[in-house]
Symmetry: D5
């Protein structure tokens, strides 16, 4: 089941730089784990922003919620979730 | 080069049903042509809306503009365009 | 799987009254069918508005989309969809 | 008498973690007390957000106000209140 | 039980003048009936707008909804409803 | 001359509790002074918010401005001012 | 007593040109009458818009409301009213 | 003196196609006249929209207003005007 | 050349009182200098807000920008600038 | 390939003045490097704001993203990016 999730990361100007690099490294590791599992199906940077557009393929709503809460950078994020489904005109069976 | 394009279709309540079905059929044909060409890379329906979220892979800004203007349903659409780029954490080289 | 769906109904001032009553009757019949099936789990009127707040319990995103598209009053609606999940503090196992 | 209440919880990045866990535990206890009393009739998590959608069944406006003011996490919340009433099409007498 | 209700009246430029005067007369009659009953407790014009700010004193949410639906000008209105309660600092017992 | 004034009070999470209680007591005293004088004609709490809806009856715009600036909690407030006048349909001569 | 009033004029594309010119002429006559009386104290065009920014000097709120309702183009306007008062730093006694 | 002007063109679905083509031709002629004069200094299409971003170099505010009012497509436009000035860091003396 | 400038002043709750009084005194001196020069042509307080509505009469866009940057309270302000011009219906030649 | 980029700079009231001057000097140097390279094609100040409107001419989306991330003042900026293309009516071949 597909969802578009848009995440904006807001870092306070005076937040500890080393602590934030640690969180970013943890976020990257968690992301790659989910990407390999096929759950975090797509991710793109938004040009000029510290934001991404992502497509998740999850079992149900709860799984998506648990994933979002597990992200190390979640406390810095504004998040927008949009439920998606297959488009009837698509020629690709697996463009889930 | 990647762009997220979000399209909302607004049909006036009293618009001629047959004429609209013709336009929808033409839109579908145009879409599939672009999907086969790899230009309209992804399309998803937004749940509960007459809207889609799409990812385009185009040569440059002008090509995207020309494609949007060529869509039979364009006059009925509200369109939002967002420039994207590859995410540095992604393990997939071609998650363009 | 639960979703909150908020629907605002906008009827043009000059829309044919009889035609609209027919559509309302069809909407009510469709609603009751879905309520009996347990899919349209809750519905409430918003005080002072021609709007409702509803909770749907569906198999997946596609089922919710198909239901919304099947509603006789859909062409008159503004719709907002929000994915929900069980709250960890709830004492009710079935407050799905 | 029914109200939809939507609560977003905003915790400052540097708020004391232990103090917040205490407040969360107190919030949970207060919530369950109100849930058992039938006043806090429904609660759902919003997917991807630290937010809930709730339905309250109260005697009058004042009771709802007093409940909201009594919540341990209230100082961290953005709150939206919407008055609801029974929907005329509903087959359930008690879908208050 | 008190509610603030704000009503903006939007009349299409080409709406039949006589028909609208009839509706306005009916609205005034209905308003005065509710004002005499003590239900429509206050009404004020918003300066420079075809809008009013009103305070209703009703038995419950349903009564307010039924009143709003009974207004002859309702189909022309944008309506915002806000639940109110007595202010703890007020010296007036009946500033309900 | 009547004005609707809506005030939202925003207290920073870490503001000194005792200092704020002092300001609240001063605000209450100032409010009751103005209520007795008939200037702060009505006040209601907004359900679920630290906000009020008030009706002021003042000599002119300047008096209202001076009153607002004199409120002990003014530095914590978001304020919205709307000029009102008597509604032509009202049966009450003094529903100023 | 001073108010800033901002008026945007919206003319439907297909509105009768001659009828609109008549209304504009009537609006101009009414405006100049009020300008001579000192009531419509200032008027400026907003660059690139069919909009004006005006300053009114009126006896009270009711007078301003009656003036706005008397404008021949009022049915085509979006109007925003803001209550003003003399600025304490001003060296001009009559910059009312 | 420089201004950024952003213009969105909105054509009603049922507007006469030939009439609109005439207006577009007239708009293009007027634009090129102003471009040759150096007044309409830059114009760009916004990708995916019937909108442009333009830079005008005018003598004063009035000249810009008169130009905008003279555009054949002005009645179909939403317009946003922003006053600009030379940036102190620029190495180009004439990047007016 | 005329501009409407609207300024909202936001002072953090914990900003040093004496320092702010110094800045206010400097702001007042700068304002009166510009008022005497005829550049800051009008100023009014917005009722109930720490905001003003001002009319500037400047040589060009750059002069307005330089003036705004020179204001001692500028770092505390939200500013909205609107380009104005003489209204064709005005009977006053100098209602610049 | 052209993009409009709008940047608002927000400096916290209590940010270290010397540190900020260093960052501004670094920003200016980086800007002039990009201006000489023809990448940062235009820049203008927005009157009355600490904001600029810029036109970038870049190879692709990624180059623009990398440039924005390299700006010393980026952590203080709100940024809006809009993809542009050549306007068909333009007489200038190089108004890229």
């Amino acid at each position: 089941m597909l969802f578009k999730v848009e995440m904006d990361v807001n870092v306070p100007i005076d937040f500890d730089k080393d602590k934030f690099e640690e969180l970013k490294a943890a976020e990257k590791a968690r992301f790659q784990e989910l990407q390999k599992a096929g759950t975090w199906r797509h991710i793109w940077r938004v040009v000029g922003q510290y934001s991404n557009v992502s497509i998740f393929d999850v079992r149900d709503n709860s799984q998506l919620h648990d994933i979002m809460m597990s992200l190390p950078l979640y406390p810095f994020m504004d998040v927008r979730v949009t439920a998606l489904c297959r488009h009837p005109s698509s020629l690709h069976d697996d463009d889930r």
